[in-house]
Amino acid sequence: MRTRLEAPAVEPLSIERTSVALSGATRTYPGRSRSAKPTEGLADVTLSVARGEVLAVVGPSGCGKSTLLELVCGLQEPDRGEVSVHGDNSAAARLSQCAYMAQRDLLLPWRDAIANAALALECQGVGRREARRRAAPLFRRFGLDSFEGALPGELSGGMRQRVAFLRTLLAGRPVLCLDEPFAALDSITRAAMQEWLADALAGEPRTVVCVTHDVEEALFLGDRVVVLSARPGRVVAELRVDLPRPRPRRETVTDARFVELKEQALEALAA
């Protein structure tokens, strides 16, 4: 079942360098009715992410990508197997180590942009005003300072997603879990956002698990790409993206090596 298109590029990770680890993680959902068969969301997934590494997970719609991410974040528990972050497999520990960013920006419409980002701090008990004060430098650094006071309804989709990402960063967690962060955007905005995210991560290095159904996005953002099969999702390929950073978008996506990796990924997806 598991066809490795490449020899494992990484040597087995030592415990200290491992940030996220799944071993044999399986998640089954009970059927809608009593007679319906339970559906498998994720089947026997084993993978690990090194500290500071960007792992992109790509797979067809409904293959359990989001389930995988929610397992990592501690929002769900596996039925079988184990999921651990920094060596701890309890849901509470995973919740406290991971920041989750969904496909939809989930900005609260009554809060202006900076208050939305500051929500991450407020949830940790920081006062309203202090949270805003601490969020401000991040807005300046990412060139969003002129939009601080705008309500989400006044922002474009790309801007909203940037604010959502700042909120994710402000949670101050070592691991970022990004669930198709740009899927809701048009393709031009998405391309710009991918470069923006790559830049942002260069400045704020974190361990990242990024789930997407877009092979190009996975290869552009990831240090490594894991390909999942259709439901139930299993790992069918693992590709190391040996392209130097920074990766200027136009040069990168037309690079011969990039195209080769893309073909391998697409082949694995089609299998």
Binding site: L95, P109, W110, L119, C123, L151, G153
Partner: protein, 250 residues
């Protein structure tokens, strides 16, 4: 202002028709006062109407405030405690089948002729729309937002304060609009069951004294009161829920 034009035209037409019907000789003056007679009564009895309106308005405002406070509190309680919702919600719905009009005299017996029974009746009438709409609002929060709050490490209380309560505001205001409109009716019922003053009592008294124009004048003032309350709530909603308009215009 422009949006009010059609409603204004219909109102004018209705008043015109009213005047026409009242001018036909066959309609008894004791049954129907014409708009002109009503206007005359409004002018002549102004002081009397104003004094009584103030009494009724006090009953409405206090009763509404109590109803809103109790309604919002019980909505939050039922939202936070699932067994409480399961136990109380069906009873709450069933309680709406009890005609408050019938209960009004009982309250008067229990609480005397003062403001007490009116407050109870207004609060009871306002309680239900507030509770139901706010509970719906609290429960309608996006499941993904709740997931986000959980991943951000928010406590139950923080989730309520920062996500659920603000999100329920539009629904709360829908309930408040209904409550504000029916609150005046509640006060009138309360006064009919027994009172020393108030517009409801004035209308009842004028009716028995065959002062038909004064009955109509009282009804006009009561209507204006309900409309003004509704407008006030709408204004408050605009101030409290400014994002609703930016959302809608998006």
């Amino acid at each position: 202002m422009r949006r009010l034009l059609p409603a204004g035209l219909i109102l004018l037409a209705a008043i015109g028709l009213w005047q026409l019907v009242a001018s036909i000789g066959s309609v008894d003056d004791l049954t129907l006062a014409s708009p002109l007679e009503t206007a005359r009564s409004l002018a002549d009895d102004w002081q009397l109407l104003a004094d009584n309106a103030l009494v009724t308005l006090t009953e409405v405002a206090l009763g509404l405030a109590i109803g809103v406070a109790l309604g919002a509190a019980s909505a939050v309680a039922m939202h936070l405690v699932r067994p409480l919702r399961d136990a109380a919600y069906p009873l709450l719905v069933a309680s709406q089948a009890i005609p408050i009009v019938v209960l009004a005299p009982v309250f008067v017996l229990a609480f005397d002729y003062g403001i007490g029974p009116k407050l109870v009746i207004v609060a009871l009438i306002c309680f239900f729309p507030i509770t139901v709409s706010m509970l719906d609002g609290l429960r309608a929060v996006d499941a993904d937002v709740l997931k986000l709050m959980r991943s951000l490490g928010a406590s139950r209380l923080a989730t309520l304060r920062k996500a659920e309560l603000p999100a329920s505001l539009p629904q709360f205001f829908s309930g408040l609009k209904v409550a504000a409109s029916v609150s005046v009716i509640g006060a009138v019922f309360g006064e009919w069951a027994g009172a020393n003053d108030g517009l409801g009592r004035l209308v009842l008294l004028a009716n028995t004294q065959l002062q038909t124009p004064r009955v109509y004048a009282g009804i006009v003032v009561l209507t204006l009161m309900a409309v003004a309350l509704f407008a006030l709530v709408t204004l408050a909603e605009r101030v409290a829920v400014p994002w609703k308009r930016t959302e809608a215009s998006r």
